[in-house]
Assembly symmetry: C2
């Protein structure tokens, strides 16, 4: 038994935006009802001022810590960061994580049933933005009677949500932790997303999004393979796989998966299709492509003026998908406004994935930041 | 009329390895007959000591300079480098370029007819290596009664062939120019090739390589899209495309190709399927993955001991597929052996593609190197 675990967790569902009062999206479309699946760890204090919202990335979900069943092979995706005595210390904080809308793990998304037709939405699901995801999260936070989040934290696309919260609802966020993220995707990152979407929509099993059963598994697997390459640095790929062959020392002289890296990617691609929905992949990557602080709020310096949260920015030295220089753009904007922004570039070989695997360094930095933010509250 | 053009060119075909004496491949398989399609520019001198062999990259072919028809929209792929007064000066040198075996532009490859069955080879075509490609080129060079190549030059996978020539047939190569290449593919480069192959073989139209007609166009397009991203630097992607939308200022909120980079990649992917064969893509990328100087010839320092050619190595500052540090490994090996190796890293924003688009800088460097090598001959 792990005494640092939040233990057995049961996800909950919150429904809002009923048919009479649907949610209006950034695109202008309306949608309802909307379900949000979420988990909480730790307990609220008397005035609910100790809530921390954790935002997940592209392939994550609401199950951030603990386990659903003692026989689970894996705990929540950020279990090393959330629990008693951990970075997000559940002895002190009430931690919440919700599945984004557009996702495929319980919150309303393209595989949910469209009330207008009684069939899964498929491509009739409206295109959602990071702003829409955050609006939906806000409904949940109000439902939980949280007047203001003590902190909001997330990496990668989770960092987009953190930024959107701090910009859109400044009064609701006391502290913000934006990890391995950016004010917008680069052209290269959009390009990789475009390849992934293209692989899915070119798969004949996709059927314009109206697939039943297993769907465009091959296209989705290809998309995931591309993604995985971008999450890792050249250094870690060389160190972990190099040119090693998977099962023999001699070349096979055929087209079987032969190099260890090839076998790894094929495995990751196939495994992903068993837990993720292809249409959700389209919607979520599109939301990422659309995210652009400057487009929504003006030039960065001006945009950040509205932010009142203390901000911590973390980047990783070998992350080439969300680079340190992109993070620095935001830090520079805040500092030039005289706003409280902390910035750490963590030296890591793991590339973008570092925020999910190098918990020790991140724990020290986040613990320190939260202690400072906490004192800021009581001071 | 371009006075610097080699003018109208007619490709020729050389056949060797008849059924009675087939070619034995590195894998141990045999193959025959083997056709090599090639072009020549300029004229041989009396003792045929002025021949330069140009080696093409993954998607290139034997048509390196001039035009086939005055109405051609594009000249040969290295037309800016080959011609009267150009880097490879056809007033002085006899320049030859041949299509690699395994390719799809005339030389024997998986879409050629298998004499054993009367049907296209498909996957019955044996897996060929860079060594096999170079062996076949050597048969052509002997057929052309060239005792020794004055120079051999190529970029990317063309550089692999340059290196293989210099290592395998040292007596046949007087000077070698290896551009934007490496002693072996990195794990990341293998990973991108693996994604491309996976996209092709997962396309139901691939049919285990036995497709007739258009074949797995969607898979091939996806493979090409991935490739294109790796050929360009982040800098040039940002400068050329950034986050610009293709045809409107407002988001479409649908899954049409919307960002300019997305549209560009989709276009490049589709265009590629009209000129390239999917099985060839599998075979050629596999040959690239297999290339590894150290595996064939021992540690680099030891391997290069056999090289007698003067070598010029060129890398590009923003090339992340074939990095400067990979080129430096080879330069260091030669210099520590006291061998004549020149090295230039060209400052460029174009990434790996620079060797195909930044001809001016390359021309100055190659002209100087060839002049030196030429004097070396007459000295």
């Amino acid at each position: 038994m792990d005494h640092n675990s939040v233990g057995k967790i049961t996800p909950q569902t919150f429904r809002f935006a009923c048919a009479q009062a649907p949610m209006t999206l950034v695109s202008g479309h309306t949608m309802g009802p909307v379900d949000i699946v979420f988990e909480t760890y730790g307990e609220p204090n008397a005035d609910r001022s100790n809530a921390i919202l954790i935002c997940h990335a592209l392939s994550g979900d609401h199950h951030a810590a603990g386990y659903h069943d003692p026989h689970d092979r894996r705990n929540g995706w950020w279990d090393a960061m959330i629990g008693p005595g951990k970075a997000f210390n559940t002895d002190r904080y009430w931690v919440i994580c919700s599945n984004i809308i557009g996702g495929c793990n319980g919150s309303t998304g393209p595989c949910s049933v469209n009330p207008a037709t009684g069939e899964p939405y498929g491509l009739d699901f409206p295109v959602v933005t990071i702003g829409d995801m955050v609006y939906a999260q806000r409904q949940l936070i109000e439902h939980l009677r949280i007047p203001r989040l003590f902190c909001i934290a997330g990496g990668s696309m989770g960092g987009f949500q953190v930024l959107e919260w701090a910009l859109r609802y400044p009064d609701m966020v006391r502290a913000a932790i934006c990890i391995a993220s950016a004010p917008r995707l680069s052209a290269q990152a959009i390009a990789f997303n475009a390849v992934g979407r293209s692989a899915i929509t070119r798969d004949p099993e996709w059927k314009e999004g109206k697939y039943g059963g297993r769907g465009p598994e091959k296209g989705l697997a290809t998309a995931r393979m591309v993604g995985h390459i971008t999450y890792l640095s050249q250094i870690v790929l060389d160190a972990k796989f190099g040119r090693r062959l998977q099962s023999a020392d001699r070349f096979s002289f055929n087209f079987a998966s032969e190099f260890a890296i090839e076998s790894y990617l094929n495995h990751k691609g196939s495994a992903f299709t068993r837990r993720f929905d292809a249409n959700s992949y389209l919607y979520i990557t599109k939301a990422m492509d659309y995210f652009d602080i400057s487009r929504s709020y003006g030039p960065l310096k001006e945009a950040f003026e509205r932010v009142t949260a203390r901000c911590l920015f973390v980047s990783y030295s070998t992350d080439w998908l969300f680079t340190t220089s992109q993070t620095k753009e935001m830090v520079r904007a805040m500092l030039s406004n005289g706003q409280p922004a902390s910035f750490v570039e963590i030296d890591s070989e793991y590339g973008h994935d570092a925020f999910l695997v190098e918990e020790e360094k991140l724990t020290r930095i986040i613990s320190g930041f939260l202690t400072g933010a906490d004192q800021g509250v009581t001071a």
